[in-house]
């Protein structure tokens, strides 16, 4: 085989592998879509489950997931921004900083069920929030921190250093420089990270298992101290715990969950590209 043939073979292999990566995601989407689309109608979205969840809709679970996603955003956004600003703008290269970074990396590697147990111990029992939207949001917030902090830090680091130097040289303080030069340009990137984190949080089952999710609760929650149903857990319940469950409702639920997660990822991608286009330097 000569060099040209080797080159062509390598290109073909690499292209093949790249295509292979796309196949599973497309298959999953098509499969769930094919099996679940029949269940989707107005009643399915807006009604509570009936008859031992074998009929009716998913509204309480859908709304619960929306509440939890918002709650997660409210908790992880400020924490992540704070941590990212500290790490990229203030932290000196010392043992303390290295420990914080190590903690973040390890946080990312903790299994989600462990987050769930931690949430149970810390928020539900110790802080006495009970199984509630608050406890669930806090647990999910922790779970998303590593990804949100890393993307936020990257976004802050991508703001050119000269802007900081110029701002300081014009008599701005360090905080003014962060507030007026760094954050406005890093914000879209930070938001991208938050939304990606939310996409992950919206689909997780284990962390909400002990902290917020209700098996069956047709009433909507009234406060952040109420329990709620949530889509991932609802899907788990109707797939494994309810005998005689129509397949279509299971796939319909999976489809809605999938759409929520995918649309969050899509929004994140959109924010990122529109930010790149707006960038002037």
């Amino acid at each position: 085989m000569n060099r040209q043939q080797t080159n062509r073979l390598a290109m073909a292999l690499i292209t093949g592998v790249a295509i292979l990566v796309v196949v599973p995601i497309v298959l999953v989407i098509l499969f769930v879509l094919y099996n679940g689309i029949g269940a989707i109608n107005w009643e399915f979205i807006t009604a509570a489950p009936r008859n031992g969840m074998r009929e009716g809709g998913i509204w309480p679970a859908l709304l619960g997931t929306i509440f939890l996603t918002f709650g997660t955003a409210i908790i992880s956004f400020p924490l992540a921004i704070g941590a990212a600003i500290y790490l990229s703008e203030y932290a000196a290269d010392n043992r303390m900083t290295r420990m914080v970074r190590l903690a973040i990396v390890n946080l990312a590697g903790i299994p989600s069920i462990v987050y769930g147990l931690f949430g149970l111990g810390a928020f539900v029992l110790f802080l006495e929030f009970g199984t509630s939207i608050l406890a669930g949001s806090l647990t999910l917030g922790l779970l998303t921190l590593p990804v949100v902090i890393s993307t936020a830090e990257e976004a802050i680091a991508s703001v050119p250093q000269q802007f900081r130097t110029v701002s300081l040289s014009l008599g701005a303080t360090r905080w003014q420089t962060i507030r007026h030069q760094v954050l406005p340009h890093a914000l879209p990137g930070i938001l991208t990270g938050v939304i990606l984190g939310l996409g992950r949080a919206a689909g997780e089952t284990a962390p909400i298992l002990f902290t917020v999710a209700a098996f069956y609760l047709p009433n909507l929650p009234h406060s952040i101290f109420d329990q709620t149903m949530a889509l991932p857990y609802h899907l788990y319940v109707i797939s494994t715990q309810v005998p005689g469950m129509p397949l279509e409702i299971q796939y319909g639920t999976a489809l809605v969950l999938l759409l929520i997660v995918l649309s969050l990822t899509l929004v994140a991608t959109f924010v990122r590209t529109s930010m790149r286009r707006r960038r002037e330097w």
Binding site: A92, Q162, F163, T165, V166, S167, L168, S169, L170, G171, A172, T173, Q176, H180, Q181, H185, E280, W281
Partner: protein, 253 residues
């Protein structure tokens, strides 16, 4: 001679990596003149400029000895408000770097950070500084346009105007005509002559020729050491030190 605007006394500066950038520098910089610091690359010129308004604070792990007096006061004293110092000794960088935003935003930025909010005052300073840097005519109808749309020479003058808008006492220019064509260079140099009536100007020139053209006083730096300082008129005609003569006649550097 009246009291020097800036007085540098036995200044040493070493970077984190151990490179001694400045060694025992003592200089008196008089008010309302153009003071030129020249010398080959890595002779310590930019390091010295960055020390004047304490941008050197950003260098982690560096070490300094000696003092810089500005109007008789130590710039490194604890009581000094660094923001205020940087507004009074304002710096223009070699690389013209507009901040993202409009031309107007760029000029008003330092003022807003200083707490000036009045629209009329901002407008007045913007117009005045653009006139001083000979840019007003070219941009007065598009102050809202992005600063990145300006040409290289215009950006350079924008950065000069941005410093002047702060109405500083001292303007520090690190090679303000780098990458400019001869016509833009002449424009900038001409504005310097006018500016020295109001400001003290400290400048690292683009070339020895430029140094000779604009300087009132000049200092020659080599490897972080001050070789010679004095009246530019004498220095560029009859340097006292052999190394200065070698450099300005182009034997090295």
């Amino acid at each position: 001679m009246t009291q020097a605007k800036i007085s540098i006394q036995n200044l040493y500066y070493t970077y984190e990596d151990g490179i001694e950038a400045l060694r025992d520098i003592s200089l008196e910089i008089p008010a309302n003149e153009i003071f030129v610091l020249f010398g080959p690359a890595r002779s310590g010129k930019s390091t010295l400029l960055r020390l004047l308004n304490r941008l050197s604070d950003l260098d982690e792990g560096s070490a300094r000895q000696g003092t810089i007096l500005f109007d008789g006061k130590d710039v490194f004293a604890r009581s000094v408000d660094v923001s205020d110092l940087r507004r009074r000794i304002s710096m223009v960088f070699a690389m013209p770097t507009p901040l993202p935003g409009s031309i107007y935003d760029n000029l008003a930025y330092g003022l807003k950070m200083a707490g000036i909010r009045e629209r009329s005052e901002l407008d007045r300073r913007v117009e005045q500084s653009l006139k001083q840097s000979a840019l007003w005519g070219e941009v007065k109808d598009r102050l809202g346009a992005s600063a990145f749309a300006l040409s290289g020479g215009q950006k350079q003058r924008l950065c000069l105007a941005r410093s002047l808008a702060l109405e500083p006492d001292v303007v520090v220019l690190d090679n303000p005509t780098s990458g400019l064509d001869p016509i833009s260079t002449a424009t900038v140099e001409e504005s310097l002559y006018t500016l020295k009536e109001r400001y003290t100007i400290i400048m690292v020139p683009h070339s020895v020729q430029q140094a000779a053209r604009v300087a009132d006083q000049a200092a020659f730096l080599l490897d972080g050491t001050l070789i010679e300082v004095g009246e530019a008129g004498k220095m560029f005609v009859q340097p006292k030190d052999q190394r200065t003569e070698d450099y300005i006649t182009g034997r090295f550097g």
